[in-house]
Symmetry: C2
Subunit: 666 residues, 2 copies
């Protein structure tokens, strides 16, 4: 029998949290202090994890969706033994610490996803739960459950107010993700004060409407009630569970608990002292009494748990060596060993076909070509499967078949994208989410989060620019390609034909350290003939597609559907020396060395024209003040695509005319 | 007794819709055909409107949130007499027609908002209902109800799956918007097919959880049931109502009704012929039998309804001439007559105070200065009132006081922004919505919709760039300012001190034809001294803040918090001739004539440095290939703001060093 009580353990979290925030002079003490009791029960008695090996593949995933409560997570990671030293907690929110203001994936062992932008953590968790169920169905065998873990989420009022919580929780209910368990920190307070002024949902009823099991009215400060609720969640295997924990924000603070004043600022030295009295916590800041530290340490239990699992895995490996190896390969994020050869061959085949094709269709062709060799492929569309061509020949609905690889996301672009991130974070998959490029707007912060986390999510966007035609300006992305390029670390590809489309997919599959946005046309585009060297060069992001003899009089840079306008214009002006550069990916081109970039865009040629059917602001660094751009700086028009292109002067003749003006001697 | 039946009238909608889609060879026949019956009941018997005067201020507002069903709305506008001629319906989805693929505000009389991007129509409608209730409370007097109208919305499965529907409907329930009535076109089909594969919400329960009245299981093809449901909605004055209409998509199409094949493509000539048979509709395409046309025409009833109202308004005007005049002024969107003088005086006062202040605080100062003269001001924050400084001295919660002017939006950035658009569309208000600049990402498509509609919504964004400090990269907007500037028609202001902040607000209030994004700092910024002429010049978007004698050796362009770095650097390099240009608004600067732009940025000076703590791609058109940029091309860091600035080299000394390198002779 331990003399350390559950309350002592929870108070360790409270003390670390308030002290770290106090020392940093900024942060959020209220949430960790309010959630400490249910966190203690979960992490002490139910969470399957091994602090000695945070990347154990069959660990439970834990997501703090209300990421501003980061000190809760840092406290837990420190206390249970993840090697997050007390010095790091003292350096909470300081430069180069492992304890940034919000939990950041990659910075801190045990942080499964970056959270803070509300509602996305729970959405990532839905993705993790999908990944677990799918991987389990694909790899487990009778008597061999090598994949069998849960996804646990903490979330608050903010997450529940955000629209994305509707999208992902509705889908989680539809998919029946029985191993997803969320704790709602129902403290009645958000930043502006008591939520009844702006948030009066009956959350129990709302989640029941989604098909969740809801455990209502749990006293979030009573360990027995919490334990009871968790057991109910474990018993329900066909529905996700929401445990509604009534808590007091800033629990333990005599003057600030239950008030928004404990939410987002240090409590103040005096109040911190009062909390110590109130909780009977006698240790100095950042000092954990040894008995409590011992009670918290999970290293031994964690290693034992993993050793148990490893024993099972060894048996599995003996029985199914191929499967075991494949599981390891996928969890390591490695492509099949012969990928380089395979993908090059497929691209060569596609080049040989020389098809004129809409690049969205070319994208499907690429999926059909690469898909059979990529069992790790999973993805879906936000209710635009037919338009996005997101269903390839090997697609199988995961709702019907848990080992499938296709997700009908419904009309939920933001939720989809955050779920894609969750699947990628879980590991074992190459994952894509598809919608119209226009609705990248709806998903934008999830795309950014993928870039910030440096994870290789794939976003498949079709129907780019005015080629959308009749649906009109609400559906014609003008600024989206350009603004996706502005997200640091997002790789953006806008291919001009079937070959570039296949290379773009190849690059997306090969990506390991950041997301890729693939942008495809609705309308047919002409095949561009290329030498094998030119095909090679596509992966450099920009390359000379048509060259002239001698120094060019002008260079036309184009992407996507405008490449054929550029090559057509140059044909019209065949008496001139004009080079056409196809630049499907500006970020990849900028990654090339100076010599290569100069070989494509030599400084000596300042007569440069950019043609892209969208806003051109981002292109001036390739063009210079002496260059010109042909783009679209206003919203589009509803009409057949060809007419809209003519309306905006984006034709072979239009490009030729502009070039001619540029070639005139001044 | 008319020999024209309700079904005949509804079939007129069906015929026009399928024929227009067929002729356009693209579009969505299914939704109009499915919704025709309840549309007929609403528009014939309940909607208060006057086709002769679509801008009648006390008309009911009608919003087609599932905007792809645009032919429903065009049919209704044509049939009831809005002057939308049959030629326009024949030109559905053609260039320069008044019948674009999705309804566009400003293109077509009677279209109250642009819809298509799902979920935003219902959100606009929530804004309209807020506007109506607020305006009524502000202007109605005992026995004088000059403002008393309803907001009606049609929406489909797509709108209900989108997260934004959660945000706005939850808030509508909390606010008890009793005059908001939505029809759910519950046809069980979305683009990917039968929704049960991805959308299994119990929508009745969900909306009850929001505090709505729900009328469930209405037969959407039975006029009596529909009438009954609408009456129930009219009787409930304290809650919004959702009427759930079970319908058959593509109703009337023997082979395609009830199937996704009727959703987004023409039915085909053969099927169109079969529909004619099935419905007994004998007229040729685009021909409405005179009796049916007569039965539909609402011009007389509409004019009578408005005349009734006008009579009441005349009495009101006699009793309250000042109020009546003020109501007209506000509905016309005019500022108070002495605004120019008033605002200039306030700006001069602010300049005289010469305060060093965080621009978010300067923004509050501006609201406090201008607010008392702007009774049309309404706004709020997405749960960041204290951080955004969105509550000014005259703010009053609209939940507590229906005539108030402050909205606690909750953590709902996208919903908030679309609601702001709805309030602006309704008329009578200058409206702002506030959040952290980072979360402009969440709201992005609503910002775009404001720009597309050319309406003067005001978006107040605080906590720009790395000045956010400890909250870290999840909360430090790096690419947001740059990408807001890419939205065509969005005016973006990033002021450098209190004076520029006040001018930015002045410009936002004066805007009539597009939205304005105001971007403010978390941290204190130095006051910049200016001559009266310089203060005048701020509204030109870019101006010379510090000049040198003779032709400059270099020009530094800066915005916001980096302006003080530029002026500081120039002080360090006082032996050099360096000009500092402050450019709070690039779009406004680009609107100036060539002569003015040259006076600020003469072609002769190619030594140009841009300093802005964010991605710099958009700046090269001001800088040229010989210029340099100091920005941030990666994500930020969690640490105190000053340290993060130093980490990225953004200091007076850093800027001076770069300038010095540029000034070295080659």
């Amino acid at each position: 029998m331990s003399k350390v009580s559950r309350r002592d353990k929870a108070n360790a979290i409270r003390a670390l949290s308030m002290d770290a925030v106090q020392r940093a002079k900024s942060g959020h003490p209220g949430a960790p202090m309010g959630m400490a009791d249910f966190a203690e029960v979960l992490w002490s008695d139910f969470l399957k994890h091994n602090p000695n090996h945070p990347s154990w593949i069959d660990r439970d995933r834990f997501v703090l969706s209300n990421g501003h409560g980061s000190m809760l997570l840092y406290s837990l990671l420190h206390l249970t033994g993840y090697g997050l030293e007390i010095e790091q907690l003292k350096n909470f929110r300081q430069l180069h610490s492992k304890t940034p203001g919000h939990p950041e994936y990659g910075d801190t062992p045990g942080v499964e996803t970056t959270t803070g932008p509300l509602g996305q953590g729970i959405s990532n968790a839905v993705g993790m739960a999908i990944a677990e169920r799918t991987l389990a169905a694909q790899f487990n065998r009778p008597d061999h459950e090598v994949i069998n873990h849960r996804t646990w989420v903490f979330l608050g009022d903010g997450c529940l107010m955000e629209g994305i919580s509707h999208e992902c929780c509705s889908l989680a209910g539809t998919l029946g993700l029985g191993k997803l368990i969320a704790f709602y920190d129902d403290n009645g307070i958000s930043i502006d004060g008591e939520v009844e002024g702006w948030f009066t949902d009956n959350t129990v009823k709302r989640f029941e409407a989604y098909g969740w099991q809801v455990v209502p009215e749990v006293n979030g400060h009573n360990s027995d009630s919490i334990t009871h609720a968790i057991k109910a969640a474990l018993e329900e295997t066909d529905k996700p569970t929401l445990i509604c924990c009534k808590t007091v924000i800033g629990y333990g603070s005599p003057n600030k608990q239950g008030k928004e004043s404990s939410h987002g600022s240090p409590l103040g030295e005096d109040e911190v002292a009062l909390v110590r009295e109130e909780l009977g916590w006698e240790s100095d800041a950042f000092v954990i009494p040894p008995a409590i530290a011992d009670a918290w340490n999970m290293q031994e239990r964690g290693s034992a748990a993993e050793a148990d699992w490893q024993q099972g895995f060894d048996l599995y490996e003996a029985a199914y060596p191929g499967l075991a190896q494949e599981l390891k390969r996928r969890m390591d994020g490695n492509l099949p060993t012969d990928w380089a050869r395979l993908s090059a061959n497929k691209i060569a085949e596609i080049s040989n076909k020389a098809e004129d094709v809409a690049t969205r269709k070319a994208s499907l062709n690429a999926l059909n070509a690469f898909g059979p060799d990529l069992p790790e492929l999973i993805g879906g569309s936000a209710d635009l499967a037919g338009s996005n061509y997101s269903i390839w020949s090997g697609s199988m609905d995961i709702k019907e078949n848990h080992g499938g690889n296709y997700i009908y996301f419904g009309v939920r672009e933001f939720g989809m994208s955050a779920i894609v991130n969750g699947i990628v974070l879980h590991g074992g998959f190459k994952t894509y989410g598809a919608t119209f490029l226009m609705f990248s707007d709806y998903a934008r912060n999830a795309l950014r989060m993928a870039a910030l986390m440096q994870i290789p999510s794939i976003f498949l966007f079709t129907h780019d620019s005015i080629g959308v035609g009749e649906d009109g300006p609400t559906h014609q992305p003008i600024e989206q390609t350009a603004s996706l390029r502005m997200i640091p670390g997002m790789s953006v590809w806008r291919p001009c034909d079937g070959v570039e489309s296949a290379v773009a997919w190849q690059q997306a599959f090969e990506a390991r350290s950041g997301p890729v946005s693939l942008i495809f046309s609705r309308q047919n585009l002409k095949h561009q003939p290329r030498t094998p060297e030119q095909i090679e060069a596509i992966s450099r992001g920009g390359y000379v597609l048509k060259d002239c003899d001698g120094e060019p009089e002008a260079i036309v840079i184009a992407t996507g559907s405008e490449v054929e306008l550029a090559t057509g214009a140059v044909k019209i002006l065949s008496q001139h020396r004009i080079r056409v550069v196809s630049m499907p990916s500006t970020d990849r081109f900028l990654d090339q060395d100076e010599a290569y970039r100069q070989s494509v865009l030599p400084d000596s040629v300042t007569n440069r024209l950019l043609v892209e059917a969208g806003v051109t602001d981002g292109w001036w660094k390739f063009i210079g003040l002496k260059g010109r751009v042909m783009g679209i700086e206003r919203f589009g028009e509803s009409a057949p695509a060809g007419e809209v292109f003519r309306h905006f002067g984006l034709t072979e003749e239009g490009v030729a005319k502009t070039l001619q003006e540029m070639l005139k001697p001044n």
